[in-house]
Symmetry: C2
């Protein structure tokens, strides 16, 4: 049996302003309209034997990831381990191995996949996974090694060694090279890119962790004992998890292990590491321009525009990336797209909200979009999914005015409960207990106007919450 273990985290700062801390790269929608998370779960379940997946992600990403999976792969059985904080891949994979061993036995194979990569050739990928699983079932710690298409300096490399029945032994893992070394690697034909995809049995990786990083092995065992490991999702116990040393599985295990193998694969892989990489997913016009959204380009060339609701106009420019979102716009030289990270660093330094949140924020019950955030009021569009229930709550400093624009909303204010249809409105005074629910089959859309003296998200007292947020 093979269970995909999807590692989903990381902010993807080079893809700001679309990728942000509260809405990282796996949630970005690409040219095909799909999120990377959706594409990953579909790809994973195609090669998994049992329809079971395990995803290791942060608490904040759980509900949205689960919802995307349910939509993208409703037939799958999706399990989650929630990390209270990021500790790199070794602890995440260790915890996942515990889960797999406990539920399916130590011989069960784990296929570790990052949630935010793109693979275009599914057949080649499936073939490589099949070979990797063969090796893993014989006890090899196995990587997928991506056949380089150019002399890339941005990835680590794997030097291949002696051939095996279904792949090659790994001679060495090597760090990101300089340009000259990358060229040599590329031309030699002996090196493969390390794309962070692994296959091994739960027992084998747990044994390897114990052998090569005993402190992490002991730490993860403690986390596992301290966590309610049969819960769904499993919330990894915060105190013990925070005590585990952060390390990558590459450095902790793969670089030191004895029985390690690589399966070379050419599967149209991309780590979608920059806007340059995203722009290449679009067809260019005769002048090399690529546009998603609404744009007017006057005498401009080799320019990529990704817009949302606003119009983007360019005049006489060349070789730019222009990315427009609700609250921020990025203009970057295409060749310098990697350096977008520096913008995010600066925004974090100044605690600018656009490093973290979008105007649209996902919640377990749906989402809200901020339409106006001013001194005297805040206006939001709330979208409550069928079955969605906002917590029973009250605010000290603001009143709320709800106008239903579509769907049928069930509203409770203090002890009164009633339904509101499109065009109907109600108001909730500061201090009044209230709750909003959607008992219907369609999304409920509400315009919420907040009035009062303070509109921070922290002015909320939750008395009941079906999502455990009290």
């Amino acid at each position: 049996m093979l269970i995909p273990v999807i590692l989903s985290g990381g902010a993807g700062t080079r893809l700001w302003p679309v990728s942000r801390k509260a809405h990282p790269k796996p949630f970005m929608r690409l040219a095909d309209g799909q999120t990377l998370a959706s594409s990953t779960i579909r790809r994973a379940l195609k090669v998994a034997s049992g329809g079971v997946s395990l995803t290791v992600t942060g608490r904040d990403y759980y509900f949205l990831t689960r919802d995307l999976y349910r939509e993208a792969a409703p037939e799958g059985e999706h399990h989650f381990l929630l990390e209270p904080t990021g500790r790199n891949t070794a602890p995440a994979i260790g915890a996942a191995a515990h889960w797999v061993r406990d539920h399916f036995g130590p011989e069960t194979l784990m296929l570790v996949l990052p949630a935010d990569h793109l693979i275009r050739d599914h057949a080649a990928f499936a073939q490589a996974v099949s070979s990797a699983a063969e090796l893993a079932s014989k006890g090899w710690l196995t990587c997928l090694g991506i056949s380089p298409t150019h002399a890339e300096t941005g990835y680590g490399y794997i030097r291949a060694g002696e051939p095996l029945s279904d792949g090659l032994e790994i001679a060495a893992f090597v760090e990101k090279p300089d340009a000259e070394t990358a060229q040599r690697y590329y031309e030699s034909g002996q090196y493969l890119w390390n794309g962070g995809m692994f296959c091994f049995s739960a027992g084998a990786i747990l044994a390897a962790l114990e052998e090569y990083v005993p402190d992490i092995s002991v730490g993860i065992a403690q986390v596992w004992r301290a966590s309610a490991s049969d819960a769904e999702p499993v919330e990894l116990e915060p105190e013990s998890f925070a005590a585990v040393r952060a390390d990558s599985i590459d450095f902790a295990v793969m670089e030191k292990a004895q029985r390690r193998a690589v399966v070379p694969v050419s599967c149209g892989w991309s780590d979608i590491g920059s806007w340059q990489a995203i722009s290449e997913l679009y067809e260019g016009d005769a002048l090399g321009n690529r546009v998603r959204g609404e744009a007017v380009l006057v005498d401009s060339r080799n320019t990529f525009v990704q817009g949302e609701q606003r119009l983007v106009a360019a005049v006489g420019v060349d070789n730019l990336v222009i990315v427009d979102t609700g609250d921020a716009v990025l203009v970057a030289s295409r060749d310098r797209a990697q350096e977008v990270k520096a913008v995010v660093d600066e925004l974090r330094r100044t605690e600018h909200d656009s490093a973290i949140h979008h105007r649209t924020v996902h919640r377990p019950w749906g989402s809200y979009t901020v339409l106006e955030d001013a001194e005297d009021c805040k206006v939001k569009r709330l979208v409550v999914r069928p079955g969605g229930v906002l917590s029973l709550q009250r605010h000290r400093k603001r009143s709320e005015h709800w106008t239903v624009v579509s769907g049928e909303a069930t509203v409770r204010i203090e002890d009164r409960e009633f339904c509101l249809s499109p065009g109907e409105a109600t108001q909730i005074q500061a201090g009044q207990l209230h709750r909003l629910e959607n008992h219907g089959d369609d999304n409920v859309h509400i315009i919420e106007v907040q009035t009062g003296s303070y509109f921070g998200e922290d002015d909320i007292e939750r008395l009941e919450d079906i999502y455990g947020r009290t």
Copy 2:
């Protein structure tokens, strides 16, 4: 007596996306926070003797212009001629001359000024106006001629002739030159820029119109007879005005006239004709970057950013103009800033709203800003000035929900009239007669949520309107 005659119109398409048809260049706020219209009226009244101004503008611009004037020059007596359509400067100046002659006599001097130019040296300007007035009072048709600061190809030139007591005779008006000719003009010292500023008596310009363009002269006389010329504002009668041939005062009169003079002036003049010109009003940093609004620039140079509410980030770019507004963003090469016009042409061709309106739209009673414009609802912030009264109106296809966020609103719905304080709300069903008034001393801010099936501005039936819009 000298009366400033301010010509205010024109879309300023090279300054899109800030300048738009419904919000043209005179209403743009520059680095000093002032609109060009405000600066112009203040400058004009400083050199005028009687505190009286006359502005010729379009109907759509009247209320906003009047409000800006009242704020910028509350001591002035501001009169308006409203053109139903633009017919270039000769008919506008002709109508203004009728008004000045009828009210103050034919000897009264007119100082014609465009509403959307910038002058930095007020003393030099005042000195030149004084000389021009001297000449005008002796019957000369006088221009201010701007001493060139470089070989500009974008302006018409005036070739100076024999000296007069307070200026120079005009030898010729010449068209915009090519680069080589402009260089020759500049080096000769005999040429001045034509900035569209004139001084003459009402009687002299009417006589000149009669002599050189009798058809326009007759046409304007008919317009004047057909219009209620003592009204305030004077609305030029549409049918007769439309029949007047459009022509510039330069071509119609100045190029042909006999007694014509020019007063050279160096007054830090700019016609603010492009984003390049606007960027030069800001101090650059060590890398030549100029920023208005919130921006993060990473390794970028010679770049001008003008933002509003959103963050603009630039990475590794050089020599760009980036202008961000509520619904459109422009990225242009600085050298190509003149070509922004091509974007507007394209937007007009496709009837894109961003060629015409901003998210904030000015109305006689205040303004509104569209916060959300969707299939299922439209959300606006209404700002009603003290004394402002929206028309008594009703809508067929939408209900409106008003939540007061600041100020005290007086609301009428059908035959009920009541007050709403901040935090209070009401709703108006489709078909219900309603009106909103501000009887207080502070602006009233209201969030309006429209629900229903259609949210176009044309679904409005006005029964009474104090601004004459029924």
